[in-house]
Amino acid sequence: MIAEPKRIYGVAAEFSTAKALFEAAEQVRDEGFKRWDVHSPFPIHGMDKAMGLGKSWLSAPVLAGGIAGLLTATALTMYPALIEYKTVVNAKPTDFFTVPAFMPIMFELTILFSAFTAFFAMLVFNQLPKWYHPMFNWDRFSRVTDDGFFLVIESRDPKFAETRTRDFLEKIGGKYVTLVEE
């Protein structure tokens, strides 16, 4: 039985410095590629712009999470204290005049819910956890968390053409240009 030929994930190249990767990204963006990415050991300032990406919208779910936390705290404190089981403690009121005493709890739960939303929304936006990824098949790629800078153009990009994309990456200064298998 003949093994199925492996599908190509994309063409990847390595760059020597953050500066080289940054300049290469600008050229890939200008060339009109859409399905591509750069990998680096740390976030590179201005890379979002160099890749043509906008601002991250992570703040939107976090705002929603914060509002949910505030509403949860409001319900949690007011329902028992004002409606379900009014208890007079130290002669304090059991109507809306007692609400300032609930503000620390409202504050804490707003922060708690926002923080959890920030963390989990970041994972969802980044499609993590994802323990298998084709890029891990390339042995040089293990240096991405050390001092390696990589750029990959995916095969599903409409402008992708194996040899032409390879030549393009070599032209813009990419080293070790490699076909990465799926």
Binding site: A18, H39, P43, A81, I105, E108, F116, Y132, S142
Partner: protein, 481 residues
């Protein structure tokens, strides 16, 4: 008429340049090798010896907790009127230490203090371990720990809900939120570094374990974009949180009517004290770590120690101001009970020696940091930090015990002495704290590698080779956009 200035001399340039954050011009790979190398190398003998000692002390502490739970809270020295003593002192002490980590990671992040990157990981870990130690005391001081679920916001006996107007319940929310958010913040920062350990290890088992916790991180810019936003948001959320936690802890006292506790200055005073004590503990731990791992000397430089000493000096002086202002208001407020409480605290009571200890350690000892040479002398720094650690414990003891040992009725006055169980429970928490910290430096990178790399000159996409010797801070203003 325009007047041209002569070009700056080399001496003038040197005077305004900041010292580099990483000395000796180390490369990105050097950072990885030397930080990840600590985790990857063989376990050293000193580690085993320290861990054995610390975990033995922790076991003694756990035994004392078990003895107290099984016998009753009477094995402690508490009495009437001293219902709170070492238990709550230790709680506030540890919670205070837990403030430095989040301060370094959140507030210094928002204020763009790049030097934070060398110390934030270890300080955040220290925060978590300190909060764990703190959490033990409120749990066990109630006596019947199996009733601790009464703290939860659910109806308990006879369907009565807990009193949401009570600062003690606010404390439950504040401390548990603080711990949860600190864990999230710490772990978010760890993910890229766990990726480093995963990619470097040669052991199959380690690769799987680090790989699971690294979540498949691959440093893609499409990921970094959201990651950086998440980190910024967590920093923005943690900043008011860290200021709120010790404020809420201080409400436990400030909202009562006990003279000596009933003070509006408490929230800012407690927060300043927490930062003060927390930084002292960061230095207490980082200075020996720097000695044991000489490679860290290029990452935690004398300039870092210098900056932390300045924060200790500032917050120590704020704390000193608060002590004096408390005394002034006690006199100026003309409340006879308040005046009596403070008179007993500083002149007439049985714990005047504790007050003197507190003043000497917290207010006088850090003043030596006005001298730059003292901030550079690591032995002096370490000694002052030990003074501050002790002084901050005495501060909480003074506030809590001296205020209640002589309460409104002189016939009820009763001297307080700790029992051996209390003393060993407290020492035991140091064992727990240090054991956890030793495990941390054994299995996780104690320096945030990806963040240190980010502030290196090589990380700047507009970096020119000839600029390299200027140092990293010189680049902070010329980031794109």
């Amino acid at each position: 008429m325009a007047r041209t200035l002569p070009p700056p001399t080399a001496k003038e340039i040197a005077a305004v340049q900041r010292p580099p954050l990483i000395t000796n011009n180390r490369s990105l790979n050097w950072v990885t090798e030397n930080v990840a190398g600590i985790v990857e190398g063989p376990t050293k003998l000193w580690w085993w010896v320290s861990f054995l000692i610390c975990s033995t002390i922790a076991m003694i502490g756990l035994f004392c907790i078990g003895y107290q739970i099984s016998t009753g809270v009477g094995v402690w020295g508490e009495n009437h009127p001293v219902g709170w003593a070492w238990d709550i002192t230790n709680f506030v002490f540890w919670i205070g230490i837990g403030h430095a980590g989040t301060l370094i990671s959140a507030i210094l992040f928002l204020t763009r203090q790049k030097w934070r990157t060398s110390i934030n990981r270890a300080a955040e870990a220290m925060t978590l371990f300190a909060v764990i130690c703190a959490g033990i005391f409120p749990g066990i001081h109630v006596g019947r720990v199996w009733m601790a679920w009464f703290l939860a916001p659910v109806p308990n006996a006879n369907a009565i809900w807990p009193n949401f107007r009570s600062p003690l319940l606010w404390d439950v929310f504040a401390v548990s939120t603080y711990f949860s958010v600190s864990v999230l913040f710490w772990y978010t920062g760890l993910v890229p570094d766990l990726g480093t350990l995963r990619d470097r290890t040669t052991s199959k088992i380690k690769k799987v374990i680090y790989g699971i916790f690294a979540l498949g991180w691959r440093g893609s810019n499409r990921q970094w974009r959201h990651y950086e936003m998440a980190y910024l948001l967590l920093a923005g959320l943690s900043t008011p949180l860290v200021l709120s936690v010790h404020s809420v802890v201080s409400f436990d006292f400030a909202t009562s009517i006990v003279p000596g506790w009933h003070t509006t200055i408490f929230p800012p005073y407690f927060v300043a004290g927490a930062i003060f004590g927390g930084f002292a503990m960061v230095l207490t731990i980082m200075l020996p770590a720097r000695l044991i791992y000489p490679a860290l000397k290029d990452l935690i430089t004398p300039a870092h120690v210098d900056k932390m000493c300045k924060i200790i000096l500032l917050t120590g002086s704020i704390v000193g101001y608060a002590y004096l202002m408390e005394l002034f208001i006690a006199w100026y407020g003309a409340n006879p009970f308040e005046r009596a409480a403070f008179w007993n605290r500083i002149v007439g009571g049985p714990y005047v020696w504790a007050y003197i200890c507190m003043m000497t350690c917290n207010v006088i000892s850090p003043q030596i940091f006005w001298f730059p040479s003292m901030r550079r002398n690591l032995i002096v720094v370490f000694i002052v930090c030990m003074f501050v650690n002790a002084g901050m414990w005495f501060e909480r003891f003074v506030i809590i015990v001296t205020s209640i040992v002589q309460d409104f009725l002189p016939s009820a006055w009763h001297m307080y002495h700790p029992s051996w169980v209390e003393i060993w429970t407290f020492i035991g928490t140091f064992g727990i704290f240090l054991s956890l910290f030793l495990l941390f430096i054994r299995f996780l990178p104690m320096i945030a590698m990806s963040e240190v790399k980010l502030v290196s000159p090589e990380a700047d996409p507009h970096h020119h080779v000839e600029d390299a010797q200027i140092g990293m801070d010189a680049h902070s203003t010329e980031v794109t956009e």
